[in-house]
Each structure stands twice: as structure tokens, then as C-alpha cells.
Symmetry: C2
């Protein structure tokens, strides 16, 4: 995709897919915990987080369908695309691992999402600003909760501390993609629709740095970043997510409830 | 399903689904090891076993489609049914666990399948007898190989012995279903098409008893048997198998290669 060939609407469609696919895939991952979390309170909290994220997905992908102008609904976009058409960050398709790793992934994403939504609330696109404002209230709670859990487990027992450090080390190479812009981002920055992803990095580093310090965890100093999700090059894990997530609409096309 | 309402063709269709679904679902489970087995030799052996089983599936489900008389191909039967229409034993949908558990499941099934095929080679239905004869050559090798591995790991290190005993204890409650007959079996026993499942039990106990003794493993003495697979009541695991296995035909209906 070259900058020259990209209209604002094309860039906007891709950007909305990125936002909606992030929340869709993370919602699915979080929902995998349903009935399996270590305590009932956490099980319900995770289910609620998944519901918040799927609600946000409906807004982002619904708007994506409007912008695309081909009459596709949020459901059709969510359930009838194959892996190469997904635009989510590789971070959110990482397998859950243990409870601590799931919450570490959640915090790394929540921290980014809270900053991104704060910027999008000032978008020149009023529809985006409205969705961002609504979502940001939920995400403010998500980031508070996931940060608390990261601190509680990181600064917990030797076992929980070791697991959280491993989780952070494993997930950190997937953080960089959140801050790397491309032609899609550039086309929207120009019109004040979306921020430059790189502009979120300092605030994210500050927030994550504070929480990790309190959690007695060490942030890896390796700058390597896996990339590809934002442009449709995914890990094998996404295929398995889609197989589960899309089964019903694939097996029973057009089913409603 | 009552005996009175069951014609021979209806019973035959169900019986062929059972045979073909056993090999289909076990083939999928075994194929999950592809690229993940502990050594290359075992990886290739497992892939070959999966291929043998999928080959047998084509014969059994192909014949099922002919008997049903609605023009469904083996592929359509395999990839376009939902869980409640599957007739495989619960044993073969059990998750793989570790390598030892996978081979324990394989041996428990191979031992049964080798005895079942020996009986089916004498079926009054010539098509069944022909498929059974072809398949029995492959299965003779499967059972030899899985028995050797069960002995090697059972009578191996303390770690491998403990894992194999756990595998046997976990899987044994799924053995009983192989020997419990119902109206479908009864309708076919009557015409000499298939054996009474209970008639295989003594030979299976002898074979499995000899191998477990050599493997220094203790066969559980609990008679409890999980049942349901043969009549379409499955565990949650089958749904995940189908979501993966059927994705391609569900997402790209009618795709061929």
C-alpha cells in the first residue's frame, strides 16, 4: 500500500479495522477464560472486560462498514473475513498463557488504548470522537484494574513475581508495533483524524514504567519489535482464534439471535 | 432411536458414520502433533498414522454417503456436519495431552480397531469386508507401534512410567463405550453385517492386559464408562476439533484441490 494511492476514506477504513480488530480479537482471547479464571470475582471481571471490548468492536467495525460503503455490517466484517484481512496488533492475538500473562497483555494494551482514545476524543472526525469518548470510560477502568493486578502479582510471591517477569519478557517484543506508523496513519494525521502512533510512546513508557516499578518488574531493554498485524501479516495463532470465533456464522450463514 | 423404527440401511448408515467418525476425529487429533513431536522419526510416524486414518475415513464415509442415498460425498459428511451429528467414540476426541498420553489413546483404540476390523472382514456386506481387509493391514502396524511405545515409556524412567500410568487412568473411563451395543449394533448383528461390540471385550482385555503387564502399568479396576459419542452426545472438545477441522470448507464452500 503506497501513500500516493491511499485516499482518506481508504486510510480511514483501514484505521477503523485496526481499532475494531484489536478489541475483537482481544475480546475473544479474554472470553476464553470464561469459567476458567482462578476465582469467581476475576472470572466475572474478565467476562465484563470481554463484553466491553466486543461493544467497542461493534462501534468501530460498524463505522468501518459505513466508511467502506459496501453495505457490510459489523457482524459480517467480524465473522466473514479470513486472517489476511485482519488488522489487529500481533499483541492481542498472543495466546493467554496463565492468568498473570493474560493480565500483563491486558495492561500493556489498556495503557496504549487509554492514550489512543484520549487522542481520538479530539479527532476531527466527530463519529470517531464520540466512540472514543464512550469507550474511554470503560478503558479507564480496564487500565486501573489490569495495572492493579500486574502490581499485585509482580510484587507478590516469588512464584507470581517470576511468572509476571516471564510474561513481560515474552510480550514485550509485541509492544513496539503499537507505536510504528505507516501510510494509513500518515494519511489520517494530516487531517487531524488520528494521532501519529509514535506520539503515544513517551506517555506509555511513563505509565508502564511507573506500574512496572511498583510491580518490582524489569522492563526489557531490547528494542526489537515484531510487526505485521496492522497490515495483515499474522501469526499462526490468529487462524485458530478465527476458526473458533467464526464457526457459528460460517456453519450457519446469516444466523441471528 | 428405537429398534422397531430402525431399518437395516438406517442402522448401516449410523454404523458407517461411527467407523468413519472414529478415524476422522482421531486422525485430526494425531495430525495436531505435526511438527511438534519429540523427535523427527515420531513426527513422521504420527503424520503417517493420521494419513492412514484419513484414508480409512474416505472409505467409511464414502460408503456411508452411498448407503444414505442423498448424494453426499465423504467430504461433505466430514466437513459439513455439526457436533451432534458425529458418531465417534468419546475416546478419540480426548485432547492429546503429552506424547505418552497420545500414544496410550492410540493403543487403546488400535487394539479395539484391529479386533473390530478382523470381525468386519467376515461381514456379509462385501463392501464393508473389503474396506476392513484393506484397513486391517494398516492397523496391524498401528497397534504394533503404539504397543511398543506404551511398553517403552511405561517400563521406562520413573517420569515416563508415572505419565503413562496417569494417561491410562485418565483414558480408561472412555474405553467401555467401545463394547456397549445399542439398537444400531443389534440390527446389524442380526444380518451378520457387524459383530456385537461386547464380543470384542475378552480379546481386547487379553491384548491390552499383556501389553500393560509388559509396560508395568496397572489397569484401573473401575468399571465406570463415559458414553454418548456413538449416539451424538459429545464432550466440549469435539466442537473445538470441528471448528479447526472444518474451517476451510465452511469459509470456502465447495473448495477443491
Amino acid at each position: 500500500m503506497t501513500n500516493a494511492a491511499l485516499t482518506t476514506d481508504e486510510a480511514l477504513f483501514q484505521f477503523l479495522l485496526r481499532l475494531g480488530d484489536n478489541t475483537l480479537i482481544l475480546s475473544h482471547r479474554v472470553s476464553e477464560w470464561c469459567g476458567h479464571a482462578p476465582v469467581i470475582e476475576e472470572d466475572i471481571a474478565l467476562a465484563n472486560t470481554a463484553l466491553d471490548l466486543i461493544g467497542q468492536t461493534q462501534f468501530w467495525l460498524g463505522l468501518a462498514g459505513e466508511v467502506e460503503g459496501k453495505g457490510r455490517s459489523a457482524d459480517q466484517i467480524a465473522y466473514l473475513r479470513d486472517a489476511w484481512d485482519f488488522r489487529n496488533l500481533l499483541l492481542v492475538e498472543r495466546p493467554n498463557g496463565d492468568f498473570g500473562k493474560t493480565l500483563m497483555r491486558q495492561f500493556l494494551f489498556d495503557a496504549w488504548q487509554s492514550l489512543m482514545l484520549a487522542k481520538l476524543m479530539k479527532s476531527t472526525n466527530i463519529r470517531i470522537a464520540e466512540i472514543a469518548e464512550k469507550a474511554s470510560k470503560e478503558v479507564a477502568y480496564h487500565v486501573e484494574r489490569s495495572a492493579d493486578t500486574v502490581v499485585g502479582l509482580g510484587d507478590g510471591t516469588p512464584e507470581s513475581h517470576a511468572r509476571m517477569q516471564t510474561a513481560l519478557d515474552d510480550l514485550y517484543p509485541y509492544v513496539g508495533e503499537m507505536f510504528i506508523g505507516d501510510a494509513v496513519d500518515a494519511a489520517l494525521v494530516k487531517d487531524g483524524i488520528a494521532p501519529d502512533p509514535a506520539s503515544l510512546r513517551n506517555d506509555w513508557d511513563d505509565l508502564v514504567g511507573r506500574v512496572m516499578a511498583e510491580a518490582t518488574l524489569t522492563i526489557p531493554q531490547k528494542p526489537f519489535a515484531h510487526v505485521g498485524g496492522k497490515s495483515g501479516t499474522h501469526t499462526e495463532h490468529l487462524g485458530y482464534v478465527l476458526a473458533d470465533m467464526q464457526f457459528l456464522q460460517r456453519a450457519y450463514p446469516g444466523a441471528e439471535w
